[in-house]
Amino acid sequence: MSALLIRDLRLALRAGGGFGLGLAFFLILAVLVPLGVGPDPGTLARIAPGILWLGALLACLLSLDRIFALDFEDGSLDLLATAPVPLEAVVTIKALAHWLTTALPLVLVSPLMGLLLFLPAEAYLWLILSLTLGTPALSVIGTFGAALTVGLKRGGLLVSLLVLPLYIPTLVFGAEVVARGAQGLTVATPLALLSGITFGAVALLPFASAMVLRINLR
């Protein structure tokens, strides 16, 4: 299992692996938003939690079609499906690799983006915590979407249409944690709900992902 993770990380980090694209997108968004809504610190501080979560979500979305598409094209996916590893584990590892290469860097640079958007000081801890707890759900849900569309020609655009509605609860609770944190309110409830969705998604969605992957491979 660790062999698959190491291979995927190695592929992502080598030339053409697409590592850093999501990060660059996140940065560009943090630059474009003030250009669009104006430089007023008050306005930016108020919308910063939502923008940061939305940016992380869209950056995750960008790299979803890479999760299975390349392995499908070169036949690795067929070979993995016939290898002595459960497909449920394969999709979980794939989601983990996606999280490590796309979401984790976003979590790490998010305080910098918060700085650009005048995020109130009280909110930084909650920003990092909510992204850490929430992004695994984004990766797992995204892996499900990628597995659904793996053999399709118009997969890239379709996957956004399928996955974005599934991201709604995570976005709502994640942004709410940061927004409440920024106002100095208690964040326990949205944080608990956010973690609940993440744990539920991580526990159950790999079975659905493996199921649709099997359907797509036959």
């Binding site: 499900f144 659904l148 569309t149 399709l152 118009r154 997969g155 379709l158 249409l161 399928l162 974005l164 509605p165 599934l166 709604i168 609860p169 709502v172 609770f173 709410e176 927004a179 409440r180 409830t189 949205p190 709900l193 969705i197 969605l205 659905a208 199921m211 649709v212 359907i215 797509n216 036959r218």
Partner: protein, 243 residues
């Protein structure tokens, strides 16, 4: 090859709906007409909302069917996944555009009603938001169907999406309720036929709900028949190619 397919018989479905579809269609037409005419012309104006309240006879049944259509798709998808019943998968496919239309009718009539009542076409009320989210789920479901060429693969994938989507649609609904609390007190904008409503309204409203239910059944039957014929045509073309 019989083992896979013995559970369902499209032919029997076609033969049954040959007579069932006209019956349901006529019933839908009659009941809906009675309900709407009764509701629009033979109910008193509301003391506060005037005659605008009468859009409720379109709005509530459409909204109800928007949700029921999704529930029906969920059940049909489960039947397909468990029993491999082709007609079931095709019925789920046929129900989706109808559910989408019902959702749109619900949203549009809501906006038309909301404008004179609250002075706004749209509010991010939890209920309105939930319906907008439901619209997105319908769009995704239909987009996935249209993207897949092989009908059985399409049926399988959309069925799983419907299952997973149902869970997330439910979560989104609670998320919308939760999310709205912090912004404004949305509960006062509730669209439900409240307890104030008396039987002068309730009776025609229930008639309209029944009528919309019948319309839905008739359209799903007609749509499923179309899908079965399309499927048969596809199979015949494949057969020609094989021979």
């Amino acid at each position: 090859m019989a083992s896979l397919w013995e559970y369902a018989n499209p032919l029997k479905f076609m033969r049954t709906t040959d007579w069932l579809l006209p019956v349901v269609s006529v019933a839908a037409l009659v009941v809906t007409s009675i309900g709407l005419i009764w509701g629009f012309f033979f109910t008193p104006d509301d003391f506060r909302q005037g005659s605008t309240v009468k859009i409720v006879f379109l709005h509530v049944p459409a909204a109800m069917m928007a949700i029921n259509a999704w529930v029906m798709m969920l059940v049909a998808s489960l039947v397909w996944l468990i029993r491999r019943h082709h007609v079931s998968a095709l019925a789920a496919k046929a129900a989706a555009p109808i559910g989408l239309t019902m959702t749109l009718i619900g949203l549009i009539t809501g906006a038309v009603w909301g404008q004179p009542m609250w002075g706004t076409w749209w509010a991010w009320d939890p209920r309105l938001t939930s319906f907008l989210i439901l619209l997105l789920f319908y769009l995704g479901y239909l987009a996935l169907w249209s993207a897949i060429e092989d009908p059985d693969t399409g049926a399988d994938l959309t069925a799983v999406l419907c299952l997973v989507g149902s869970v997330f649609a439910l979560l989104s609904r609670y998320a919308a309720i939760f999310w709205n609390q912090g912004l404004h007190q949305g509960a006062s904008l509730s669209l439900a036929p409240g307890t104030r409503m008396d039987w002068a309204y309730k009776a025609p409203l229930y008639t309209c709900m029944l009528g919309f239910g019948l319309i839905f059944v008739a359209l799903v039957l007609a749509g499923t028949r179309t899908e079965i014929r399309a499927r048969r045509m596809k199979a015949l073309v494949a057969r020609e190619r094989m021979a």
